[in-house]
Every structure is written in structure tokens, then in C-alpha cells.
């Protein structure tokens, strides 16, 4: 029976990492194989799901056979699968990198006990986060999404506080409060939506949604919550300190994956589930916020002295791009803006993970991340610097990266609609990104001055290759475009299971 096997595979991305997390917590042995095995199995499962999706089209599964009002529904369609793929890929990369990272720090003989403890807590939390993310993408009803959002923030906050530095703890406390506020706003939104129709299921909601004050209030509250969690412009205050002060693998996870969860939901709500509630004015507001975010984040990134803070502010700026896609998606008939949005999410996800990992390696070697003192590091770790550069190409949106494809689609979308003014912001943001990426590259290319400040140990392969591979994936994402399009339009031609209105 095909449905049974399909549903079986759909549950695995949630169950497996959860089980893995618990096992890692109980096992308490520092070792690579257990988390890595789970990350790899997760990747395999997602690949298997890709095949299923291509053959059978969007999949639905009711857990335990309970019917929709009470039961929990898992839905897998093109966009969700792409997000799962991104998570699985970056997850595998981060898992390898994190092992190398902790091993390197433990072998440095400086407070090895502390680093060992950090690693012991890292694995269960990280696998827990992976389970929450996968659950988020698969969930088919708005309340279940709330639960996964909360799981996500709990594990993300705990991970962010893991470094134990007072700054990091303060930052993650703020992060926790911000994301709690977001969750509660989202929950209040659920109240309004349930009140008017008595359904939570995304598919049912799409069918019954009609404009009304209660629904609008619900959507506004949910969107505010998600915007806060995605660090959209005026609500981004919590992000830079939390991301910049965490351990390197944690920063990579937070910036590359966690942010994407809520952004993806937002896009999905606005253009799939609640599409009939959306007005152009609201989209323009979101787009304006996006423009402000692009510039604010970009300019602040330019002003930073520390590499990781720069990368964190660049995330703020990049979130702006995703928001600019909103007004352009409204009139879009060819779905190219959906494609653009997902392309940018995929490209930015891989690139940001790679970038934070590369920055982390530089930090490990030099003991700091002050940019002007990093000169000559290219000679010590050429691959890492190369990975950083390639990831930067993505942020700038230069070819052949996925960011380029996304930007091209956005631009043509803008001109198609006659909304050419967005294009100016898109291009200017790209130039800003170029400015802050090359602000880092410039000292890296500088010939070393004076004695080497780096500890002489060679960079382990586990620290060097994951960022390189991920940045290359992001760089060559444009070439995978036909495959991605095939996934989006699998079995029926619509991007999402229900199709756009």
C-alpha cells in the first residue's frame, strides 16, 4: 500500500532526530558517530521523500489515523520539501563542523572540561532543534505549528546560551523573551482564527477563509509574531547579539536555518492559506519594511568591527530581501516570485551557514574576530577564506549563485508588474552586501604584517570542508534550478498542495 509507506517516511524526519537527541542526552559519550548517523539518516529520508513527492505529488498523513479537527496532520509539498532538503543538507554540514569545532577546542588544552561539557549539551539540543524544524515544515495545522515554533525557540535559545559568556547569556535571554512574545502573539492569532471558523487545519482554512475583522486580526497577530521571530526590520534588535555571541556552529544554525522557519511560514500563510485576506497595502508595508531592513542591516554590517557581528547584521539585511519578495508575489501569475523566494531562502541558508562556519574557524585560529587583525589569514586557511568568499558571492547576488537567480526573478517580477521602484532597492542592497563582504575580504587578502598571530595547528578537515561544500552548493544552486522547479511543480503543476487562488 503506497500510502502507508509514504506516511511512514513522512514521520521519520521528526521522530528520528527527536530519538537521536534523547539518545545523545542519555549516552553522554562524546562521539561523532551518533549525531552524524542521525543527521545522515535524516538526509537520506528527505531524499527518499523527494522521490516520493516527484512520483506521487503532495503527501498527507494523519498521525494515528485521527481525523482532522483533533488529529495532527502532516503535509508535504514542494516548498516544504525544499525546506526539509535545506535543513537536512545544512544539518549534515553543521554536524560535521560542530564535531571538528569541539574537538579542536578541547584539544587546545584551555579549559578542556568546559568545552567537553558544552559539546555534551550541544548534541541533544541540536538534534532537538532539527526535529522541531522538520516538524515545522511538515505541520499541516496552525496550532501544531505553534508547538513546533516553541520547541524551536527553546532549543535555539538554549543553544545560543551554550557558550556561557555573560554577553551570550544576556543576548539569549533577550532572544528568549522576543521569541516568547512572538509565540504568544501567534497564539492569540490562532484564537481569533479558530473563533471565526473553528478549524485549524491549513487545507481546511484555505477553503473557508473569507475576509472579516476577526480573521484579519488573527492574521495580523500571527504575522507580527512571525515577523518578530524572523527579525524583520524594526523587530530585529534581538538578533545580532544572540547570533554573534553564540558558538560558531550555533550561529550557523540560528542564522541559516531557524530564521528561515518563521519566514517560510509567513510567506506560506500570506500566499497560500490566507491569500484571499491579503491587500496590496499590507504587502507594500511589508515591502517597505524589507527595504528598510536591507539598508539598516547593510549599513550596520558595514560599521561593525567584529566579523561575526558583521555576518549577523548581514542576516538582518538579507531578511529584508525576503520581505521585498512579498509585494512582488501578489500579482504574480507565473509563480516566478515563489520560485525566487525559495531560491533565495535556499541560497541564503547554505551561504549563511557556510559563512558563520568560516568565520568560526577564523575565530578559532586567531582567538578573536576583529577584522583588521585578520590579515594574512588567507595563507593559513585558504579553503576557509575561499568558502567565505563564495558565500559572500551569494549574498551579493552575483552569478552563478542561487542568490543571483533569485534576484533576477525578483527583478523581472518587479518590472513585469510595473513596480520598478523595488528594483532600485534590490540592486542597492546587493551593492551594500558587496561592500560589507569585501570589507572582510580585503584584510584577508592583505599580506601578513609582522609575526603570525595564528596558532600553528593545521586546520582539521572537519572544519574546512563543510563550509566549503555548502558554499559551493549555494554558488552552483542556479544550475540545480530545473530540478528545483520540477519539485515545486511536482505532479500537477501547482507550487503548493492547494494551488494559488
Amino acid at each position: 500500500m503506497p500510502t502507508v509507506s509514504a506516511s511512514f517516511w513522512m514521520v521519520l524526519p521528526v521522530v528520528l532526530p527527536l530519538a537521536g537527541g534523547l539518545l545523545c542526552f542519555l549516552w553522554r559519550q562524546r562521539s561523532l558517530w551518533l549525531p552524524l548517523a542521525f543527521a545522515l539518516v535524516n538526509l537520506i529520508v528527505v531524499i527518499r521523500l523527494t522521490r516520493l513527492l516527484l512520483i506521487q505529488g503532495p503527501l498527507h498523513y494523519q498521525i494515528g489515523g485521527w481525523e482532522t479537527p483533533l488529529g495532527i496532520v502532516l503535509v508535504l509539498d514542494g516548498p516544504a520539501l525544499l525546506m526539509l532538503l535545506l535543513t537536512a543538507l545544512c544539518g549534515a554540514g553543521v554536524t560535521c563542523y560542530a564535531r571538528g569545532y569541539f574537538a579542536y577546542r578541547i584539544s587546545a588544552q584551555k579549559q578542556p572540561g568546559r568545552h567537553e561539557r558544552q559539546e555534551r549539551f550541544f548534541w541533544p539540543l541540536w538534534l532537538m532543534l532539527l526535529a522541531a524544524l522538520n516538524g515545522l515544515f511538515l505541520s499541516g495545522d496552525i496550532f501544531n505549528i505553534y508547538v513546533t515554533l516553541e520547541l524551536l525557540s527553546i532549543s535555539a535559545v538554549a543553544l545560543a546560551a551554550l557558550s556561557g559568556k555573560p554577553v551570550a547569556q544576556l543576548a539569549s535571554f533577550r532572544y528568549l523573551l522576543a521569541s516568547l512574545l512572538g509565540s504568544l502573539s501567534y497564539l492569540l492569532g490562532i484564537f481569533f482564527i479558530y473563533r471565526s471558523h473553528g478549524v485549524l487545519d491549513l487545507g481546511l482554512l484555505r477553503a473557508v477563509v473569507e475576509p472579516g475583522s476577526s480573521m484579519t486580526a488573527g492574521l495580523v497577530l500571527m504575522s507580527c509574531g512571525l515577523l518578530l521571530k524572523s527579525a524583520a526590520f524594526p523587530l530585529h534588535f534581538w538578533l545580532p547579539p544572540a547570533h554573534a555571541n553564540a558558538l560558531a556552529p550555533v550561529s550557523a544554525i540560528l542564522s541559516g536555518l531557524v530564521i528561515k522557519g518563521s519566514l517560510y511560514l509567513l510567506f506560506r500563510f500570506w500566499f497560500d492559506t490566507f491569500a484571499s485576506l491579503i491587500s496590496p497595502a499590507a504587502l507594500n508595508v511589508i515591502g517597505m519594511l524589507g527595504i528598510l531592513a536591507v539598508f539598516w542591516g547593510g549599513i550596520l554590517a558595514l560599521l561593525q568591527q567584529r566579523l561575526k557581528l558583521l555576518v549577523a547584521y548581514s542576516t538582518v539585511s538579507q531578511v529584508g530581501y525576503f520581505l521585498i519578495a512579498f509585494p512582488l508575489a501578489y500579482h504574480d501569475a507565473t509563480l516566478s516570485v515563489w520560485t525566487a523566494f525559495l531560491f533565495m531562502i535556499l541560497a541564503h541558508g547554505c551561504a549563511k551557514v557556510a559563512m558563520f562556519m568560516a568565520a568560526g574557524t577564523m575565530y578559532l585560529h586567531s582567538g578573536h574576530d576583529r577584522m583588521r587583525d585578520l590579515h594574512g589569514i588567507r595563507l593559513v586557511m585558504p579553503l576557509t577564506v575561499f568558502a567565505y568568499g563564495m558565500a559572500g558571492v551569494n549574498l551579493m547576488g552575483l552569478p552563478p549563485s542561487g542568490g543571483f537567480v533569485g534576484k533576477w526573478l525578483l527583478l523581472t517580477g518587479a518590472f513585469d508588474d510595473g513596480q520598478w521602484w523595488w528594483s532600485v532597492a534590490i540592486m542597492a542592497g546587493g551593492l551594500l552586501a558587496a561592500a560589507y563582504v569585501f570589507r572582510v575580504m580585503s584584510p584577508l587578502f592583505q599580506a601578513p604584517v609582522g609575526a603570525s598571530i595564528f596558532d600553528g595547528r593545521p586546520t582539521p578537515a572537519l572544519l574546512e570542508w563543510p563550509p566549503l561544500v555548502l558554499s559551493l552548493i549555494a554558488l552552483l544552486l542556479g544550475l540545480f534550478a530545473p530540478g528545483i522547479m520540477a519539485l515545486l511543480t511536482a505532479n500537477g503543476g501547482a507550487v503548493i498542495s492547494g494551488g494559488l487562488p
Partner: protein, 108 residues
């Protein structure tokens, strides 16, 4: 109906009171409490919604399930927040050189 309306109004009031406190108060403990007050407000709304106020019609179980789940989530989040707050208090208040000997652990 009026009682239910009062419940709902109360829920909303709680939510916004909590929100105001969260913004205005700077002490970590007060902020945590504010978040809990907000959560309580939302739960109250849900409970009020579950009861139609009509005689003979079964009470909708879904909001109650949601509230139960919400309470579990809120308890664990509060625990995490408290651990973090304590840690911040220790490191910023005490001698604090032994930074992060015991990293906070997330419970979920």
C-alpha cells in the same frame, strides 16, 4: 453570554497588561512574570471560547487541548527563562570569573 464576554475581555486585558509590563519592566524576573501573565490571558480566551454558552451543546474539546499543550509549553519555557536569568544574575553579580561552568540546559 455576558459572563463569557467578561472572560474574553479579561483575557485580552491580561494579555496587554503583560505586554506592557514586558516592555516597561527591566528586571528579568518581572519580564518572565509578564510573559506568564500574557500566556494566562491567552489561555483564558481559549477556555472562554471552548464554552459556547449554549445549553445542551457539547463543549468544544479542541481549545482545551490547545490550552493544555500551551500550559506545558509555557511551563518549560519559564523554566528555561528562569535558569537563564539565574545565570545572568550569577555572572554579572558575583565574582563571575568562572564563566559558564554549568551551561544551561534546555528542557523540552
Amino acid at each position: 453570554m455576558t459572563v463569557l464576554f467578561a472572560y474574553k475581555l479579561g483575557g485580552l486585558c491580561l494579555f496587554f497588561m503583560g505586554f506592557t509590563a514586558l516592555i516597561l519592566r527591566s528586571h528579568p524576573l518581572k519580564k518572565i512574570m509578564a510573559v506568564n501573565v500574557m500566556a494566562a490571558g491567552v489561555f483564558l480566551l481559549f477556555i472562554a471560547m471552548a464554552c459556547h454558552g449554549r445549553v445542551g451543546v457539547a463543549i468544544d474539546p479542541v481549545p482545551q487541548a490547545m490550552v493544555l499543550t500551551g500550559i506545558v509549553v509555557s511551563v518549560s519555557v519559564t523554566a528555561l527563562a528562569l535558569v537563564l536569568a539565574c545565570r545572568i544574575q550569577e555572572t554579572s553579580g558575583g565574582a563571575g570569573s568562572s564563566e559558564g561552568e554549568h551551561p544551561p540546559q534546555g528542557d523540552s
